[in-house]
């Protein structure tokens, strides 16, 4: 039953992606806005890290990697791609608490598909794919400029770590959204956690003290959307270390899925419709 339901949701994916593409085609201003934001953001990061590396050519701390201008520029590309994929695929997570408290779950609960899947898929934002493309161009340019050696297997492992880590992070957010069943609107909590993600994703986390690293790896796994994929793709981690990080990201994603399913099932029984 569960297996057949998972396949059913997957079979709906192309339809939702198509709707998302049609929507963005109708709203080109939003697409240009995303393009401009992405370019300006990247420009600011490049400028920022150039200033830092001018003062301090390499950043080292308790981590294994010495972060120079090349690695930091590459990190910007990885972060941009990760954010693009997040904006494309996971945006709907941010609306879960909104549906619980204000918009209602009815439209999702009457359709023969997972409510959560629908909430997420309905918000697929094709503009994120443009951001992914810009991020990939940035990676390519930094590899060319600094002569970085990229091995395909590392790219695959890095992408896997990023995908699983991002899933863990967003499912953790979904869990926070689920608290709306008990405490009502809680966008404040989400905004704070978003600010943590936005700020730490721009930095190499392995140069920070162990406590911060620990927090950003196991509690709020921001490390997987920028630092870890960068280290893996650039070949700074051994295969065992890469697989270790991928395992942690996968384990965290699984853990938060279990927590989310529990919260969602308990919360739904408390759900009170909004409006008529």
């Amino acid at each position: 039953m569960v297996k057949s339901n998972v396949f059913r949701q997957l079979s709906l994916l192309p339809g939702y992606i198509r709707l998302s593409l049609l929507r963005i085609a109708e709203d080109k201003i939003q697409l240009w806005g995303a393009f401009a934001t992405s370019i300006i953001g990247i420009g600011m990061y490049v400028f920022f890290w150039n200033v830092i590396t001018y003062q301090m050519p390499v950043l080292t701390g308790v981590g294994w990697v010495t972060w120079g201008r090349a690695e930091l520029t590459f990190l910007i590309g990885v972060t941009e791609s990760a954010w693009g994929f997040g904006a494309f695929f996971w945006m709907g997570v941010w609306e879960i608490h909104w549906h619980i408290t204000e918009l209602g779950l009815e439209q999702f609960r009457v359709r023969p598909a997972s409510s959560i899947f629908q909430m997420i898929a309905q918000q697929f934002w094709a503009g994120g794919l443009l951001q992914v493309a810009i991020g990939i161009v940035m990676l390519w340019l930094s590899a060319l400029t600094f002569g970085l050696v990229i091995v395909p297997i590392n790219v695959l492992l890095g992408a896997l770590a990023l995908f699983l880590g991002q899933a863990a992070l967003y499912i953790l957010w979904a869990c926070l959204c689920c608290l709306a069943f008990w405490i009502g609107r809680n966008e404040g909590l989400l905004e704070v956690s978003d600010a943590v993600e936005m700020n730490f994703a721009r930095m190499p986390i392995d140069i920070m003290p162990f406590g911060v690293q620990y927090f950003l790896t196991f509690v709020f796994p921001v490390i997987f959307i920028s630092t870890v994929p960068t280290m893996i793709i650039l070949g700074y981690l051994s295969l065992q270390s890469s697989l270790f990080y991928i395992g942690i990201a996968g384990g965290l994603a699984l853990l938060w899925i279990v927590v989310f399913r529990y919260l969602w099932a308990r919360g739904l029984k408390r759900y009170q419709p909004v409006g008529g």
Partner: protein, 302 residues
């Protein structure tokens, strides 16, 4: 009504309780702080022991004033809500725990909420539904064509045709009494979470429509005090006159129409007379406008 068949949906002694925060003005910082930490709540019994069955092919209207529990009933039947106590079955399954299986077999439309995706053509939304409901492409194309024609030709009441031709069971909560009048055979009246009436539409009309409206168009009057004479008759509830037209509302239990018409013919030179029974909208408005009558209404067994 095919009552010999197994019910397609059944609600058995269902209670649904909502809670909402109790807003109380508090004086003093300490009390406000305690109130913030320990919020008081009030409970509302949206449904209070509701039971009914719906059989295949039936067309049932659930009617009641705002806050009566209509939406809650529909949301329980469609598995959106979980009952606080009691049992809900649809297609012999628990719709809450087997929501996706059940949802493959029913469709719910909420008036104020669109089920289509915004900023894309309607057809694109329908294509996604085709996938969701596993509808084969040739059948989808055929239905799309058919319903495009229905909606184009019959701008009103496509639901009626769907019910008649497709043998679909319809459970309707509508404020439009025209839909209810034309579409449904059975009516369930609900008020304050309790079912007040459940039976055929004609039975409801019979119970409530002891009133008749009589419109008389007359050329001239035979007696100057004809209005007073009519008004003084027991059973005449209301009389209004305007330019050769008299409108009466009478209670048939107290006054036979035949006797009244005889009197009218003596008092007036009549051009035309129309006798009408109140429509469903009048009846429902009257029922729910009179709380005492609602409370005294005996529940009708299905």
């Amino acid at each position: 009504m095919p009552l010999n068949q197994e019910p397609i949906a059944e609600i058995n002694n269902v209670v649904r309780i909502y809670t909402k925060p109790l807003v109380k003005p508090r004086k003093g910082a300490h009390r406000r702080f305690v109130g913030f930490l320990k919020r008081e709540k009030q409970t509302i019994r949206a449904l209070d022991g509701v039971s009914f069955k719906i059989h295949p092919g039936e067309c049932v209207a659930l009617l009641g004033p705002n806050g009566a529990g209509k939406s809650t009933t529909v949301k329980l039947l469609s598995g959106i809500l979980h009952p606080t106590s009691g049992q809900v079955r649809i297609f012999d399954q628990d719709p809450y725990h087997n929501r996706i299986d059940c949802a493959m077999r029913y469709g719910v439309v909420f008036g104020q909420r669109s089920l289509l995706w915004t900023h894309v053509p309607v057809k694109e939304s329908l294509k996604l539904y085709q996938k969701m409901y596993n509808v084969p492409k040739p059948i989808f194309d055929e239905r799309l064509k058919e319903f495009t024609e229905i909606l184009d030709i019959e701008k009103h009441l496509p639901t009626a045709r769907i019910n008649r031709e497709e043998k679909v069971t319809v459970f309707l909560c509508s404020h439009s009494m025209r839909d209810v009048e034309e579409l449904t055979d059975r009516i369930i009246l609900i008020s304050k979470g309790n079912i007040k009436f459940d039976g055929p539409k004609r039975q409801l009309k019979r119970r409530w429509s002891n009133e008749r409206k009589i419109r008389v168009l007359y050329k001239k009057v035979n007696k100057a005090n004809w209005q007073t004479e009519l008004e003084e008759q027991q059973g005449v509830l209301e009389l209004t006159t305007q330019n050769g037209q008299a409108d009466l509302r009478i209670d048939q239990d107290q006054l036979a129409i035949g006797d009244l018409l005889k009197d009218i013919m003596e008092l007036l030179v009549v051009d035309d007379i129309q006798v009408t029974e109140p429509n469903l909208e009048d009846i429902i408005r009257e029922i729910f406008g009179d709380e005492e009558r609602v409370n005294n209404l005996q529940m009708e067994a299905n």
